[in-house]
Subunit: 144 residues, 2 copies
DNA sequence: TACTTATATTTGTTATACTAAATATTGTTA
DNA sequence: TAACAATATTTAGTATAACAAATATAAGTA
């Protein structure tokens, strides 16, 4: 554990975020979902918001553009999503789910809803409010 | 933003942890520290606890062993740390700072103490207590 | 002692994060 | 319109994360 207080909080934050992600990913794997958590986040956004540009998709998923490009590559390779030329801007692509991608999202959605709960056991409504407020406050402190 | 509450908290946690790390890393780079945040964590632990085995070092830094092996490789390549054969267990190495590594830690320590504060602006003592308690609670929920 | 199991480390593979640079296209302005 | 700046995407390089498998050594047991 780090000794300096701020370093300690950074350490806890990083360690906890990694464990939550790791736990969800392990559950994905053990259930044979055959996608990563990050890929799921992209699929979910594509399902809810059709035909987003990669830039908007990156924004919604909280990823940078190179990372999103590669995730879309992987989803395309798995036949779950496709790029389409943007009708009015040839620099841009819109991305949309294939039929297989739609089926994937609809098939996994109910299962995934139930995965997260273990992480949040023993936390009450107030804890969630605090957590959300504090995390957003940190995030905003570091904007730009 | 994710809609399911638990997904939303996971998203916030991940996003915030990444931004905190990214901010610290950017400051490291702009000041020409020439190490990563994770490398710093390893150096700091080596400075405080001489001659840790790689396993103990990994434990202290919250990293798995393959990751720690690679960080030690990088520190060794930079001449900041060295492996030594463990006196009684030939499977094991102890790692220690070189003279250059000690100088690095002592030179950077005061600067690094001041980097973190921006992330924690606008948070009060109570917020820190909540954050620490909640993060530890989540972490423990997912043990094993 | 021979066999088995456990441990410490390394290696390999895949995915993500971040930066910088390259490419193509669009928008702006002199 | 020609030059320039801005934007969307991709590519490349390095670091970290997670997992599985390989290697060497140690410890426990029949």
């Amino acid at each position: 554990m780090q000794k300096e207080p701020y370093n300690m909080y950074s350490f806890l934050l990083d360690r906890t975020a990694r464990r939550v992600k790791q736990y969800a990913q392990a559950t994905f794997s053990s259930k044979g979902f055959d996608i990563t958590l990050d890929q799921w986040m992209v699929l979910k956004n594509l399902y809810e918001f059709k035909d987003l540009s990669q830039k908007d998709l990156a924004e919604r998923c909280g990823k940078d553009q190179p990372t999103l490009t590669r995730i879309v590559d992987l989803l395309a390779k798995k036949g779950l999503a496709e790029r389409q030329i943007h009708p009015s801007d040839r620099r841009s692509f819109t991305v949309h789910l294939t039929e297989k991608g739609v089926e994937k999202v609809e098939g996994l959605s109910p299962e995934i809803k139930e995965i997260r709960t273990k992480a949040w056991e023993n936390l009450n409504e107030n804890d969630f409010k605090h957590l959300e407020r504090i995390l957003n406050s940190i995030y905003k402190n570091l904007e730009f």
